[in-house]
């Protein structure tokens, strides 16, 4: 039987080594494939090495653990020949919001410093989960991810104020765009593209900060970088690779749907 493989994502080398040492002691047969040091590196390495278990630090440079998990889920499931999706264990030093979200979603996580007893319990659950990696388990994991992404608020977040009018600068003019005219929000580098049926604006606020201020019944997040007004969706098509694409009424764009959010577009 092939050995179980693991990948550790941790930007602090001492802590990565400490976890590796502890794992070697508690699970000698677990083969450690490597250590990823940032949020982009972990996705690249995980797709290349295809581990069975992934220890994912939620605070890493580049992009954080939740974003990396979403990107990984998206890319992984598109290639049907891949091994089953890895069992993910989140790791955190102290993040009260994340921990609260984890508890509410019954997601397995480890606290740093990692205690041998807690690790033993977690590994027991990991071994069990390894035996049940089917579509249902994957869907459950994706649902958890969706909730975690929605819930994890930054520590000094201002109180949530619904967006009604968006001031968007175009050169020296500031256009006041009513939210009712917006059909798509799309993240682009450090900016966010705001699309109305006829125009396009650029905002400097990151998408992560806009999303909590939108009514999630009206605006659906379909990708970590894309939010769409549900009523503006004309149709959704599936390409040969299995990826879903949204076609927006009145605009030529098609928007990719990430695997994490694809459940919404299943026919009733």
């Amino acid at each position: 039987m092939p050995l179980t493989t693991a990948l550790i994502a941790e930007d602090e080398p001492l802590l990565a080594d400490a976890l590796a040492t502890e794992l070697r002691q508690q699970w000698p047969d677990l083969r450690l494939l490597g250590i990823a040091t940032d949020g982009h590196d972990v996705v690249t390495k995980a797709l290349a090495l295809q581990p069975d278990v992934l220890f994912l630090d939620i605070r890493m440079p580049g992009q954080d653990g939740l974003e990396a998990a979403e990107e990984l889920a998206d890319a992984w499931t598109l290639a049907p020949t891949r091994k089953p999706y890895p069992v993910i264990v989140f790791v955190t030093a102290f993040d009260q919001y994340a921990v609260r979200a984890f508890d509410m979603q019954a997601v397995d996580y480890l606290l740093k410093p990692v205690h041998p007893d807690r690790l033993r319990n977690t590994l027991g659950r990991v071994r069990q989960a390894l035996g049940h990696r089917d579509d249902a388990a994957l869907e459950a994991h994706l649902a958890q991810l969706r909730s975690l992404i929605r819930q994890s608020a930054p520590p000094d977040a201002p109180p949530i104020e619904r967006l009604t009018i968006i001031p968007a600068a175009v050169g020296t003019t500031v256009h006041m765009v009513p939210i009712d005219e917006v059909v798509v929000f799309e993240a682009a580098d450090k900016y966010v593209r705001v699309l109305t049926p006829n125009r396009e604006y650029l905002l400097r606020t990151p998408l992560k900060e806009l999303v909590p201020r939108l009514d999630d019944a009206v605006f659906w997040q379909v990708h970590r970088g894309t939010v769409v007004r549900a009523s503006a969706i004309d149709r959704v098509t599936r390409d040969e690779g299995g990826r879903l694409w949204i076609h927006v009424k009145g605009r030529p764009d098609s928007l990719a749907v990430s695997r994490v959010y694809a459940a919404r577009f299943r026919s009733m």
């Binding site: 802590l15 982009h40 410093p113």
Partner: protein, 350 residues
């Protein structure tokens, strides 16, 4: 303002009880001194007194000036007391008459001055009672305010301490220490000493108000060395303090939040890390303390200042007024630059 939203029931019942006791005492005195049947006196007394009390104690709540002040504003209070006295007298006399069979109203019509005594008694007792209850209420309200203020102060102190001891940093450092104890015990001891120094200075720093620039830079050095254990090659730092400025007094740990932010928001999230530089310089009698990093920089739109930066601004304002400033901008070439400017006292300059 809903009329009976938060009616202070217990207080009201206490007032009622005290009023009733007072009425009974008056009745007893009248019964003894004028040899009237005590039951009749009791009924008159209670009827007058309790009615007056009800009108005043309920009326003041219904027409209160605000939820914080359960008493009508200005002249309305006086009018209410007057109304209470009148109502108490009228209703009480009627009730007493019904019980005792006496027709006091006829007596009044016959000799208008006769009831003045009772009226005066009612008025005096009502006013005294009102004043007593009123001042008790005020004392209680002030006590509540004091408790609230104390609670707010305690919370603010806690937040301050929390902001100085970032839990995320603390637990990551503890985890690092734990890892080092088995992997590299000698280094572990060094890190433990650094942590001890840092914690001591942070906790002391929140009590001591000023120290020398040299001490400030020493503390920053401790902190940066500690962070470097965790971040490894992802953090480099440089501290530049000219000897002529070493003894200048500044508020203790003024720059700590700025250096923390540089690491937490600038260096840590950047793939590959970066450098933090702290420079002290003097131009035209102004001391310039600069913290600059080449991390991921501020967002293009300036975000609202966090607790740490606000705290620095507040400390500067408290110590130096408008002569001091904190300016945070994007550093040329990427990253963030924070500059603290404060006036140099003459004896600081050499």
């Amino acid at each position: 303002m809903t009329p009976f939203a938060s009616f202070p029931l217990r207080q009201w019942l206490t007032h009622g009880l005290l009023t009733a006791l007072c009425c009974m005492a008056i009745a007893a005195w009248r019964a003894l001194s004028a040899d009237h049947p005590w039951q009749v006196e009791l009924v008159y007394s209670l009827a007058i007194g309790m009615t007056a009390w009800l009108v005043i104690d309920v009326g003041r709540y219904v027409w209160r000036a605000s939820d914080d002040v359960p008493w009508p504003a200005g002249w309305r209070g006086g009018v209410l007391v007057l109304a209470g006295v009148m109502a108490g007298f009228a209703f009480g006399i009627t009730l007493g008459d019904a019980y005792g069979g006496h027709d006091t109203w006829q007596d009044i019509l016959a000799a208008p001055k006769a009831p003045l005594g009772i009226l005066a008694l009612t008025a005096v007792v009502s006013v005294i009672g009102t004043l007593v209850f009123h001042s008790r209420g005020r004392a209680r309200a002030m006590e509540q305010q004091m408790l609230h203020a104390r609670k707010d102060a305690a919370e603010a102190q806690l937040r301050l301490l929390e902001s100085q001891l970032d839990p995320h940093m603390l637990f990551n450092t503890l985890a690092t220490l734990r890892a080092l104890i088995t992997a590299d015990p000698v280094r572990a001891v060094g890190v433990l000493d650094l942590m001890g120094d840092f914690l001591r200075s942070t906790l002391q720093g929140s009590r001591a108000t000023h120290h020398r620039l040299r001490d400030e830079f020493d503390r920053l050095q401790d902190y940066l060395a500690l962070m470097q254990v965790r971040l490894g090659s992802r953090l480099t730092y440089r501290l530049d303090l000219p000897a002529t400025l070493a003894l200048v007094q500044i508020p203790a740990l003024l720059l700590q939040p700025l250096v923390e932010n540089a690491i937490k928001h600038g260096i840590e999230p950047k793939v590959g890390g970066g450098t933090v530089t702290v420079i002290a310089a003097e131009t035209d009698g102004t001391l310039m303390l600069t913290v600059v990093d080449n991390g991921i920089g501020m967002r293009p739109a300036a975000e609202s200042p966090g607790f740490g930066t606000t705290h620095v601004s507040e400390r500067l304002a408290a110590a130096y007024g408008p002569q001091a400033s904190l300016e945070i901008t994007a550093a040329p070439g990427g990253g963030t630059r924070s500059v603290v400017r404060l006036p140099l006292a003459r004896h600081d300059q050499r």
